[in-house]
């Protein structure tokens, strides 16, 4: 009887785990972001206000559990196999090994995957028949007003998050706030890759070319900005400008869009 009970309990436990995993990795919900005008933070010849047409966007950042499935079916994106040109040595360093996040890391299964490069993020989205959002799409989506927001202002909330060092354990997705489009965690959880993350500084190797010459340092950085007091946007653009496609950073993840 005792034997039978323990089998029963084990079965129940197993089923629960299965069910949980199933909910975690079920087809990701996407929501529609209505088209609208996007005004770049840095105005220049190649960064003019543009109209962004409606698109679909992942409701949350891609989680560790979701990314594990991608790695399982795409061996070249395993930690030990990845090409260094496409992901630096920090790639998935928070996982136990190639195909296990690790039991001790169970707490982060449903947290955003981080330590992934732009190339890896792009490959994941492509595998899902999606793509990374452009800066314009991401910013338009992230500007959505929060629902039931407990903070005084979105900028205050973002600044408070930006000015704190990364937590040791990253919280789960949906742990911050939801915005008017139904998107979760656009701010306050991780930084997110964008398709053209460094394009606002003209092409990556010609930051000092002609009219697109902008300096993200010193007073030069204040000449062409849309709103000089929007320190949150300022920080975001400074951050993106310092990235390279193979960087893997412990507070940088992604979500995908469908046009």
């Amino acid at each position: 009887m005792k034997y039978f009970l323990s089998i029963l309990m084990a079965t129940v436990f197993f089923c629960t785990v299965q069910a949980q995993q199933k909910t975690v990795v079920s087809e990701k919900k996407m929501v529609t972001v209505r088209g609208g005008n996007y005004k770049p933070f840095f105005i220049s010849k190649s960064n003019r206000p543009v109209y962004v047409t409606s698109f679909r966007m992942d409701e949350t950042p891609v989680t560790n559990a979701e990314y594990l499935i991608f790695v399982k079916s795409n061996p070249r994106w395993r930690r030990s196999k990845v090409n260094r040109l496409f992901a630096d040595t920090n790639y998935l360093r928070h996982w136990k090994n190639d195909l296990e996040i690790g039991v001790s890391n169970k707490i982060i299964y449903n947290s955003p995957v981080v330590n992934v490069s732009w190339f890896a993020a792009q490959a994941y989205c492509k595998w899902k028949n999606k793509q990374l959002p452009t800066v314009a799409q991401w910013e338009l989506a992230a500007n959505g007003s929060p629902k039931d927001f407990k903070y005084k202002s979105l900028t205050d909330f973002i600044l408070d998050w930006y000015t704190k060092p990364s937590p040791r354990v990253l919280p789960h997705v949906k742990s911050t706030y939801q915005n008017q489009y139904g998107l979760y965690d656009m701010h306050g959880l991780i930084w997110e890759w964008t398709f053209n993350f460094n394009s606002f500084a003209a092409s990556p190797d010609s930051r000092r070319n002609g009219e697109d010459d902008f300096k993200n340092f010193c007073a030069g950085g204040a000449i062409n900005v849309a709103d000089k007091t929007d320190y949150a946007a300022y920080l975001r653009y400074g951050y993106r400008a310092s990235l390279k496609g193979n960087y893997c950073i412990s507070s940088l993840g992604f979500r995908c869009v469908k046009n």
Partner: protein, 351 residues
């Protein structure tokens, strides 16, 4: 400049102030003692490689012992860290090396500085560095935009002697500076600095928090106060009472003390003053001009000064920003404790 000066001479009194500035500027420019083009006058043939000694305030690296230009390796790390700003308040500082101010760097005129900036993997932010001693794009900022967990690398020649501020130059620069990302680099002249008994490192900075001065708990940055240049704290070395009481600087009667003092700002200009002393020597704005017997010297935001004092009597010298509310209410006090025999011929208290 000459034209303006001539014009001013023939103008009415209203312009006399302008004239004074013009003449001052003109005379500085034409001073034969200053090398306007140091690169032509200094030896730049490298004679080996050394690693720079780096220190944290109030300590200063030992004087440079070598007498010919070296390649000097310097590595700084950007670290974001919660630390006490006062007895009751904490603040999330952004730092070079985990302290405010950051590492003191000491090199010699003519040295080729090989500079690496690391950004700690735990950092939330991108950081960079603009050293005012660098002649080149952004003072190094153009080459050092460094994402968390990454590092960047550049070289510069230390052409001009002086004490220079360095600071983070990633947008928005004011926020990075307001959070404590600054420090000093000393470029010793080829002949070295004259020998003194003590050298110390102080750096002033203003801080803006959501709560009032010494409000309990972790305090967030207050953008509104920063934009209106109304700080809650004006501090030496990043903390209320960083350099007072048990942590005071020390010296003995008869000794000479040299202070390397920077002002990180971001907003305030310092009226640097020593209560119960005066500066026998001031390297004005940390440049090559020396002024003597000065009571209070200005330190611009993003600037520095070098001052010297001869200790005459036992006392506690309060070093303050003489915009005096800052000293009394916002924390701008550091101390030198001078010990030794009384010197009644200089000072005595009478009944």
């Amino acid at each position: 400049m000459i034209q303006i000066s001539k014009k001013s001479i023939f103008s009415i009194q209203m312009f006399s102030v302008l004239l004074m500035f013009s003449v001052l500027f003109f005379s500085c420019k034409s001073n034969p003692g200053n090398s306007d083009d140091g690169s032509n006058k200094i030896d730049t043939t490298l004679t080996g490689t050394v690693s720079a000694e780096l220190t944290f305030a109030p300590n200063v690296p030992k004087p440079i012992a070598y007498t010919s230009p070296k390649k000097v390796m310097v590595q700084l790390e950007a670290i974001e860290k919660v630390m006490p700003i006062s007895d009751s308040s904490e603040y999330t500082f952004w730092t070079f090396g985990g302290h405010v101010p950051g590492n003191f760097i000491r090199v010699r005129q003519g040295d080729l500085v090989d500079f690496t900036l690391k950004n700690a993997p735990e950092s939330k932010m991108t950081h960079s560095i603009d050293l005012h001693a660098v002649i080149g794009p952004g003072g190094g900022a153009d080459a050092t935009s460094t994402a968390p967990g990454q590092s960047t690398h550049f070289q510069f020649r230390a052409l001009h002697p002086g004490l220079y501020v360095y600071h983070c130059a990633t947008g928005p620069v004011p926020l990075h500076i307001a959070n404590g990302m600054y420090g000093l680099i000393l470029v010793e002249p080829q002949g070295g600095m004259p020998k003194v008994d003590h050298e110390y490192y102080l750096m002033q900075g203003d801080f803006y928090t959501k709560g009032k001065y010494d409000a309990p708990g972790l305090q967030d940055f207050d953008e509104t106060k920063a934009l209106s240049e109304n700080p809650d704290y004006v501090l030496f070395n990043g903390r209320v009472r960083s350099t007072t009481g048990a942590n005071a600087l020390t010296a003995k009667v008869g000794e000479t003390v040299r202070l390397y003092v920077g002002n990180g700002g971001p907003n305030l200009v310092s009226s640097f003053h020593a209560i119960g002393q005066l500066f026998t020597k001031v390297y004005m704005e940390a440049g090559s001009e020396i002024n003597r017997d000065v009571q209070t010297t200005l330190i611009p935001s993003g600037g520095a000064t070098i001052v010297e004092m001869k200790m005459q009597v036992p006392e506690v010298i309060n070093l303050v920003d003489h915009s005096i509310f800052r000293a009394f209410n916002k924390g701008a006090i550091a101390q030198i404790k001078v010990t030794g025999a009384e010197n009644p011929s200089v000072y005595q208290k009478l009944k």
